[in-house]
């Protein structure tokens, strides 16, 4: 991920105008959404090398979760929550849930100048894989304005999400004597304090 000088200058300014972009691949198409208003056609990036692809604005109410970097094996699963979804998006989410499972779901940012013109391409900062779509409706009595709110949440993991890894453990004296009855090498492991950090891989 390389930022141009103009993008770095924008990041260092007091007012940062930033756009959040999501690119979801399904088995039949590629859905491009961004957390702004209206449509936008970013320049070529790492995934859309041709450029000119249109990202559709989802409005202002997109909840984007914090990401954990994949350091020391932390492989998190995050959910992108889209509030106030239209009936079209709800239909899409309900009907295409099967077609997005284990498909690439990429999240990126792009920087704007003070006149809302893009300074560069989308920089994808998280390359995940879609798991499932969760649809829900919050009833009218629970919301501020009395209207029911529909939400669609897309769960996205990484390549390592869901892998099985044994927790840290110690061989006890009992375990070792099951292997070799006269081996006393583990008789003091019970005195160890249980603390450790397993670095990846």
């Amino acid at each position: 991920m390389i930022f141009a000088d103009t993008e770095l200058a924008a990041l260092q300014s007091d007012i940062v105008r930033i756009g959040a972009f999501m690119r979801l691949t399904t088995t039949t198409s590629i859905e491009r959404l961004w957390a702004g208003v209206g449509q936008i056609a970013p320049p070529p990036d790492a995934l859309d090398t041709g450029g000119g692809e249109i990202y559709t604005g989802t409005g202002l109410l997109v909840k984007i979760p914090p990401f954990q970097q994949l350091i020391n094996g932390a492989a998190d699963r995050v959910s992108f929550v889209l509030n106030a979804t239209s009936s079209d998006i709800m239909a899409l989410a309900a009907s295409q849930s099967a077609s997005i499972a284990r498909q690439p779901c990429d999240f990126g940012i792009a920087l704007f100048d003070q006149t809302w013109q893009l300074l560069g391409p989308i920089h994808f900062i998280r390359r995940g894989y879609a798991d499932f779509v969760h649809l829900s409706t919050v009833g009218g009595k629970q919301t501020k304005n009395g209207m029911a709110i529909r939400t669609a949440a897309l769960s996205s993991g990484s390549l390592f999400t869901g892998r099985r890894r044994r927790g840290i453990s110690y061989l006890s004296d009992y375990d070792q004597r099951q292997i070799s009855s006269d081996d006393s090498s583990c008789e003091r492991t019970v005195m160890y304090s249980t603390l450790g950090q397993k670095n990846w891989p």
Partner: protein
């Protein structure tokens, strides 16, 4: 889903008050030790929100009109073309005393009045452009004025002029907000006499109406911009 072509107009209620504002989405990180106050904006230019208040209901016809308008709005499920009714600062001027085709005037000596306004895009403008080149053949546009543009996919969209600079002759460069919702080709006509925007009712209960005894209470309605 409705399309721009079959979107109905929201009635213009005389003397109603208009509050048109762009809703932004920004986050502040608080003040830094260096004295800065960084702000992050993620809205991409914002969304129009309109509050039409003091809609005067004075007669039975007003009641019927308001109730019909409520049904057209359909609880926020239908897009509507809402007019920004700011007659007092409308940029267009008028020519008066225009006669009939045979040269005659009305019996009181007056003629027709016609709006002097012919403003077009002088050059193609890209999607999300915030600086556009205009050809102001007739009429006046200044910073703070608003205008509308009709495009095939997004219908009527409203823009406000931030700054405007002369280029040459009738050609001017205008900085506008929010960014253009759709690309516009050169020659496209601007609508500044009756600026309008495609919107929907903000909340389904926004036009609830209780029929009381005379005098009827003033009504209000809130709208937010709707994009196709």
């Amino acid at each position: 889903m409705a399309t721009p072509a079959d979107t109905l107009d929201f009635p213009q209620f005389a003397q109603a008050e208009n509050a048109w504002n762009i809703a932004f989405n920004s986050m502040a990180a608080g003040s830094t030790t260096g004295g800065n106050y960084p702000i992050v904006m993620t809205d991409g230019g914002g969304l129009w929100a309109a509050k039409i208040s003091k809609i005067r209901i004075r007669s039975v016809n007003d009641v019927l009109t308001y109730r019909a308008a409520r049904l057209i709005a359909d609880g926020g499920s239908q897009p509507l073309v809402v007019y920004r009714n700011e007659i007092q600062i409308k940029p267009a001027t008028y020519t008066t005393g225009i006669p009939h085709s045979d040269g005659s005037l009305f019996s009181d000596g007056s003629g027709f009045s016609q709006e002097n306004e012919l403003i077009t895009f002088n050059a193609d403008a890209a999607l999300r452009a915030t600086t556009v080149q205009l050809n102001i053949n007739y009429g006046v546009l200044s910073a703070g004025n608003c205008f509308s543009v009709y495009t095939a996919t997004q219908g009527w969209r409203l823009y406000e002029i931030r700054r405007i600079f002369p280029v040459s002759g009738t050609v001017w460069n205008a900085e506008i907000r929010p960014p253009l919702r759709e690309a516009v080709s050169a020659g496209t006509l601007l609508e500044s006499a009756l600026p309008r925007c495609t919107m929907r009712l903000d909340q389904s209960s926004d036009m609830d109406f209780t029929l009381t005894r005379i005098p009827y209470p003033d009504q209000s309605a809130n709208f937010v911009e709707l994009l196709f």
